[in-house]
C-alpha cells in the first residue's frame, strides 16, 4: 500500500513538473519520456524499513574495513565521500594485490536505481553491498568470517539487537543496514539549482543552463536515456565508449579483465579474445548486449569525475564532445546516438545545465570512530 501511494505521488509530481518544464522549456520529444524533476522520497523496500538506528549502524559498517577479507577495504575505500562517494581514478582501486576494472560509481542517489553496478548485475542496494564486499577484486570478504567479526564487537552486538531484534549479528543484516545508510546519501532538492528551478525558482538556473535544459530535451537528445527525476532510464545502451588504454599496459588491469571473463562464464572463444568490458553481455550472453551499460544518473556529476564505465573521460566537456560526434565506433552502438552538430555555445549551455544538477556543495560524511573487538563471554545455550 505504501509503495502504491508512493507511486501515485511520484506520478502526480512527475506529471505536474513535466508539464511545467515542457511548457516552459522543451517542446518536442521531451513529452515522450518520463519528465525531469526533483527526486521523490527515496524508495524503501518493504522488507528493510528505515530507522534512525539502522542508518546509524549502516554508517558505521560502511566505514568498517573489517567487512573485507584482510580488513583493508571498507565500502568507503572505493566510495569515498570526499571523492564524490567514488574514487578520483578512471578505474577504481581494487582489493590489495588487484586492481578493479570499472569506474567506481557514486553512492549518491544510487538508492533510486532499480539496477546496480555498471551492467545492472544486481537489483538492490542490499545485494550491491554484499556483492562488493565479497567480490574477489573488491572486498574479498568471506561472509561467515565477516559475520563472526561483527559478533566479536560488543557495540555491534548491542546495535544489531536494537535494530533487528537479534542476539547475534548476521552478515545479511549488515548489508541491510548499509543499504539503509545508502538511502540517506541522496541529493536534497533545496541544494540543487535544477531542483530549485523545477520547484518554481526561475532564478535558480542561469540563462545558459536554461538553454542547456532545452537542448538536453531537444537537439542534444539527452532525455532519450537520461530522463525522470534520476535522469536515468535505468536501462542498457551501447555508446561505443572508447577503450581505456590502461588495459593495454597495466598487468593488474589485464588480470582482472580476464578474470571477470572467467568468473562470468563466457564461452572460451570470448575469453581468449577478451580485450574490453562487455557489459550486459556477461549477464545475458547475447551478442547484441555486448558493450551495453546501464544509463547512469546525471545528478552530482560535478563531484563524480571521471566518467563512463571505464572512466575514460576526465571532464564533462569530453563527454559532451563524444556525444556531439554521435558516440564512437561500435557494431552494437545505440541507434539513439547520432552526430548532434552542437555549436560551441550549445556545448557550453549543455555543460551549464549538467552542472545545475549537482548540489551547491558536496555531501560529505566524516568517517566515524569504529567500535573495537572484545573477548566474547561464553553463554551456554539451552
Amino acid at each position: 500500500m505504501r509503495i502504491l501511494k508512493f507511486f501515485f505521488f511520484a506520478l502526480a509530481l512527475g506529471i505536474l513538473l513535466g508539464t511545467v518544464l515542457q511548457a516552459a522549456e522543451a517542446p518536442g520529444q521531451a513529452k515522450r519520456f518520463p519528465p525531469l524533476g526533483p527526486l521523490p522520497p527515496v524508495p524503501v523496500p518493504r522488507d528493510n524499513p528505515m530507522s534512525d538506528a539502522k542508518v546509524a549502524l549502516g554508517k558505521l559498517l560502511f566505514f568498517d574495513p573489517r567487512l573485507s577479507g584482510d580488513v583493508s577495504t571498507s565500502c568507503a575505500a572505493c566510495h569515498d565521500p570526499k571523492l564524490g562517494w567514488g574514487t578520483d581514478q578512471p578505474i577504481s582501486r581494487g582489493y590489495p594485490g588487484a586492481e578493479h576494472w570499472r569506474n567506481s560509481q557514486t553512492v549518491l542517489n544510487s538508492a533510486y536505481y532499480a539496477k546496480f553496478f555498471w551492467a545492472g548485475e544486481v537489483t538492490s542496494l542490499e545485494s550491491q553491498a554484499a556483492a562488493a564486499a565479497t567480490g574477489n577484486v573488491a572486498g574479498n570478504g568471506d561472509p561467515i568470517m565477516m559475520e563472526e567479526r561483527l559478533r566479536q564487537v560488543p557495540e555491534y552486538v548491542k546495535r544489531f539487537k536494537e535494530v533487528f531484534g537479534v542476539d547475534r549479528p548476521t552478515i545479511a543484516m549488515a548489508w541491510m543496514a548499509i543499504a539503509a545508510f545508502g538511502r540517506t546519501v541522496v541529493s536534497k532538492a533545496e541544494n540543487v539549482p535544477f531542483d530549485r528551478y523545477a520547484k518554481g525558482d526561475q532564478s535558480a538556473l542561469s540563462p545558459e543552463a536554461k538553454r542547456g535544459l532545452a537542448l538536453s530535451q531537444g537537439k542534444a537528445g539527452c532525455i532519450q536515456c537520461h530522463n525522470g527525476p534520476l535522469l536515468s532510464d535505468d536501462s542498457y545502451h551501447n555508446l561505443g565508449v572508447p577503450p581505456n588504454p590502461i588495459f593495454e599496459e597495466s598487468p593488474l588491469h589485464q588480470i582482472t579483465l580476464r578474470y571477470q571473463h572467467v568468473i562470468r562464464g563466457v564461452p572460451e572463444s570470448v575469453y581468449r579474445t577478451a580485450d574490453r568490458d562487455l557489459g550486459l553481455y556477461y549477464t545475458t550472453k547475447r551478442n547484441e548486449d555486448r558493450g551495453k551499460f546501464r544509463t547512469p544518473s546525471l545528478r552530482e556529476l560535478k563531484y563524480t569525475a571521471p566518467y563512463m564505465h571505464n572512466g575514460v573521460f576526465a571532464t564533462l566537456e569530453e563527454v559532451i564532445e563524444v556525444y556531439n560526434r554521435g558516440g564512437a565506433d561500435d557494431a552494437n552502438k545505440s541507434p539513439l546516438l547520432k552526430p548532434l552538430g552542437l555549436s560551441d555555445q550549445e556545448k557550453k549551455d549543455l555543460l551549464a545545465f549538467l552542472l545545475s544538477l549537482s548540489s551547491d556543495k558536496p555531501l560529505i560524511i566524516e568517517p566515524p570512530d569504529l567500535p573495537g573487538y572484545a573477548p566474547m563471554k561464553q553463554e551456554a545455550r539451552p
Binding site: 584482510d70 568470517m145 547475534r168 593495454e248 580476464r258 572467467v262
Partner: protein, 362 residues
C-alpha cells in the same frame, strides 16, 4: 668389547620386538615416487609466491618456513592478514606421508592437491580465488614458460595445485640417524639415544602411538594437552576459531572453550579433543609442540607424558604416569633428536615480475 655386545643385544631386543609387534615396528622412511623435476621446480617458485594469496601478502612459507622447520615457530599460527589462526602450524617435512591431513585429519592425505587447495582458498589461510591466481600467473612470462615445460600447457588452478604437490613430495627427511640405525648402522645412534629408543619402545610407551616409518599411528588421541589461552582471549583467534567450526557444521561453536579437534570433523562426542598423532621425525626442528603449541621444548613434552598427560574426559587409556628418572628423560630427548635428518634447506627464489600481455590474445 662390552659396548658392542650391549648394542648388539639392544638391536636383538629391538628386532625381536619388531617381529612380534608388527605395526609397532619402526622402519626407515620409504622413498616417495619421485615427482617430475620440472613440476618440482615450478612448485618451488609457487610455494614462495605471495601472488597465490588473496591480497598478495602471504605465501606458503609465511607459515611453513624452511628456516623454522617448515612451520612458523609460533605456538599458534598466523592466519590470513586481518586474522589469526587457532592451531599450531605443522611442519611440511614428511607431510606427504600422512593418511589424513591436518591436526584434525579433515582431509585425505592421499589427495595432496586438495590439501594445497584448502590452504590457498580458505578464508583463514590464503583466501584467494583459484581463478584469479591462474590469471595472475598468466601475466608472468617466466611462469607461463615453466607451466608449459612442466605440464605442456598454460597456468591453471589445477596445474598450480599439482606443481605445489610435486614440491611437497620432495620435502622429506633425508639421512636421519634413526634410519641409518634401522638399516644396521648401530653407531648412528649415541648410547644415550639407544637407551632412549629402548625407553621409547618400553617403559615410556611412546611406540604405542608413534610407530611405523612415520612414527605416527595415523590415528587420533586425546592427551589433555593444555589449550592456549589466546584462543579465546584474543578476539582475532576466536573469530577464526568460530568461523572454522561453523563452516564444518559443528553445533554451538560459539560456546566452545576448548579446541574440539576431531569432533569438529566427525561430530561424535567420543572424538572431542582428539588430534592426529604427529610424526616424530624432524621433531627437534619443529618446536613449539602440540596442536596448541603448548610446549616450547621436547623436555616439556617428555615431562608432560611423564606426568601421564593432562585432564580430559576422552583421555586415551594409553596415557599414564611413567615414573621416568631424569636420566631416562634425557635419553628419550636424545633419541627424539636422532629422528632429524639433514636439514632440508630451500632458498627463496626471486620472483619474476608481472608483464603486460598483448590485449585480446589470451
Amino acid at each position: 668389547m662390552r659396548p658392542l655386545v650391549l648394542s648388539c643385544f639392544t638391536t636383538w631386543i629391538l628386532l625381536g620386538a619388531v617381529s612380534a609387534a608388527g605395526a609397532q615396528d619402526l622402519q626407515p622412511l620409504p622413498p616417495l615416487e619421485a615427482p617430475k623435476a620440472e613440476q618440482v621446480e615450478l612448485g618451488k617458485y609457487l610455494f614462495f609466491e605471495p601472488r597465490l594469496s588473496g591480497d598478495g601478502g602471504i605465501s606458503c612459507d609465511t607459515c611453513h618456513n624452511p628456516a623454522t622447520g617448515w612451520g612458523d615457530g609460533k605456538p599458534l599460527s598466523t592466519g590470513y592478514p586481518g586474522s589469526e589462526y587457532f592451531r599450531n602450524a605443522q611442519t611440511l617435512l614428511n607431510a606427504a606421508y600422512y593418511k589424513r591431513s591436518y591436526w584434525d585429519g579433515r582431509l585425505a592425505g592421499a589427495d595432496l592437491p586438495t590439501l594445497v587447495r584448502d590452504h590457498l582458498t580458505e578464508a583463514h589461510f590464503m583466501q584467494v580465488d583459484g581463478r584469479l591466481f591462474a590469471e595472475r600467473l598468466k601475466q608472468i612470462p617466466e611462469y607461463v614458460e615453466m607451466f608449459k615445460t612442466a605440464f605442456g600447457g598454460e597456468p591453471t588452478f589445477g596445474r598450480t595445485l599439482s606443481a605445489v604437490t610435486a614440491f611437497l613430495k620432495t620435502i622429506t627427511s633425508r639421512n636421519a640417524p634413526i634410519d641409518r640405525y634401522l638399516r644396521g648402522d648401530t653407531a648412528a645412534l649415541s648410547t644415550e639415544a639407544r637407551n632412549g629408543l629402548v625407553l621409547f619402545q618400553g617403559k615410556a610407551g611412546c611406540i604405542q602411538c608413534h610407530n611405523g616409518a612415520l612414527l605416527s599411528d595415523q590415528k587420533f588421541h586425546a592427551l589433555g594437552v593444555p589449550e592456549n589461552p589466546d584462543l579465546f582471549a584474543d578476539p582475532l583467534r576466536h573469530i577464526t576459531f568460530r568461523r572454522f567450526f561453523r563452516t564444518l557444521g559443528a553445533p554451538n561453536a560459539e560456546n566452545y572453550r576448548q579446541d574440539p579437534g576431531l569432533y569438529g570433523v566427525t561430530k561424535e562426542k567420543a572424538d572431542w579433543g582428539k588430534f592426529r598423532t604427529p610424526s616424530l621425525r624432524e621433531v627437534s626442528r619443529t618446536a613449539p609442540y602440540m596442536h596448541s603449541g603448548a610446549f616450547a621444548t621436547l623436555e616439556d613434552v617428555v615431562a608432560f607424558y611423564d606426568r601421564g598427560g593432562g585432564q580430559h574426559p576422552n583421555k586415551s587409556p594409553l596415557i599414564r604416569p611413567l615414573g621416568l628418572t631424569a636420566a631416562e628423560k634425557r635419553a628419550l630427548v636424545e633419541f627424539l633428536k636422532s629422528l632429524a635428518g639433514d636439514p632440508v634447506v630451500i632458498e627463496r627464489p626471486d620472483w619474476p615480475d608481472y608483464q603486460p600481455r598483448k590485449l585480446g590474445q589470451n
